[in-house]
Amino acid sequence: MQYIIAIIKPFKLDEVREALSGMGVAGMTVSEVKGFGRQKGQTEIYRGAEYTTNMLPKVKLEIAVSDDLAPRIIEAIQQTANTGAIGDGKIFVIDLASATRIRTGETGDTAL
């Protein structure tokens, strides 16, 4: 099993979700996060006080999938979240040691 963590632009969330649902992803966890990378912050001006926000809002997706599905999911996120601009985000993948469905106690791929 693989654990996919994707940091994407907030406005791309719906598009990504739709693409993944169509591929049989049964669930994901979404959080609003802030962070910085290579993308420059925006400048905000409040009555002449200029602030450069270096922490930008992003959306973090966390998806646990079976090994065979993982490459297609990663590709789909990369395709749909892509705008071609700096700040589109990153996708990280880690090996997932186990998964348990709390209601039934099922483990492994069947718990996903």
Binding site: E44, I45, Y46, R47, G48, A49, Y51, T53
Partner: protein
Amino acid sequence: MSDMKGNHMIRKMISGVVGSAIMLGTATTAFADAAMIKAPTVAQQATMVNKGDTTWMLVSSALVLMMSVPGLALFYGGLVRTKNMLSLLMQVFMIVSVTGLLWATVGYSMAFTTGPTPALTPYIGGFSKALMMGVNGSTYAATFSDNVYIPELCYFVFQMTFAMITPALIVGSFAERIKFTPLIVFVVLWSLLVYYPVAHMVWYWAGPDFTSDTPTEGGLLWAKGALDFAGGTVVHINAGIAGMVGCLMIGKRVGFGKENTPPHSLTMTMIGASLLWVGWFGFNAGSNLEANGITAVAFVNTMLATCAAAVSWALIEQIVHKKPSMLGAASGAVAGLVAVTPASGYAHPMTALVLGLIVSPICFAFVTTVKNKFKYDDTLDVFGIHCVGGITGALGTAIVANPALGGQGITDYTKFPSVVNTTYDTVGQLMIQGEAVLITLLWSGIISAILYFVIDKTIGLRPTEDAEREGLDITEHGERAYNY
């Protein structure tokens, strides 16, 4: 008694012939003059009150209260960081409540009665109406028209709302870095030593039916002929300079200039500014003290100056920053409201509009360039908008009141019945307005400085650095604005 009845009948007859007033123009005027009563007794004043004026003044009083709570509280609150939201709301809410009590106990008497000695009358009133002594449903207050009165309690509560909002304006200057209790102590002392005397100096007079007999009975600035229709000097310059002195003496916020301190909710600020705009009709048009043509003039002037100032602030941002901001539009609207305040009952709508267009670039320069250059932390720009906008309005009033520009001119109350002067000296009036501005700046600035100093040395004005970083909501009030 029979005299009174006779007069009452004549007044009724006058109102009966208003419909044919055009035809009977001169005859009606002569008739009215003959019916005028110089220095009417309280019993006679009782016949000179009408329900329209009374209603309008009570509604106006409620509108002005709405400017403070929730208007000003939200306008200010939205501009601070989340951790200080409640401190701003609470400061405004409590200042309104405390100064309300103070007004009833001594404030009204100190502002609107004759001095304890004749020599003090130009500066301060006495205590003859302390604890509302002799103020009840059967006493009356003068308006700006001969033989027109409103219930004194209307005047009492209308003026009370002004005494509430003025000290509340000050807190924006040192927002996010003041302890609550010392602030309230400051506000009480400031009301006693600054607001009541200044209100007395500008607005206390004997009224149109008595001034011809007692021409010296009035505040210092009133006697000089300073024009301040709704409180440019008394409210805005007064509070603006007190705020500026406070922000300099208390010092900058921790992290000022290094940390980002963006407004936590411009949505709240927009709501607050809009409530200020609506409430300001009570403030300006209500300041005519009756419901008549001049009230409508003040109302329309307030509307146009505000629209113009919101537009000109947005335009200047478009030019300078390439983007017009909501905060800019709201700031412009408030600057326009401030500037038109002293001029509202004197200007022509078109000159009020010009005043609005001019004030925003001036205030914009202060809150951006001047503030950044001198690096003072006037957190919510009380000086840049209220004091600078107030000065612009106070000086502008001298120009827009000129009848040659469609203004209302100056009414001579030393004659009875009162007459509008046929001549108008713009330069002379400008000098008088400048003097009124200067006296207000000095009086409020110096006394405020002394008060801040004394309170800081005794109970301390500033929270500890840790408390300031934690936020005043938790450290001063033990609660959070938002619990999601």
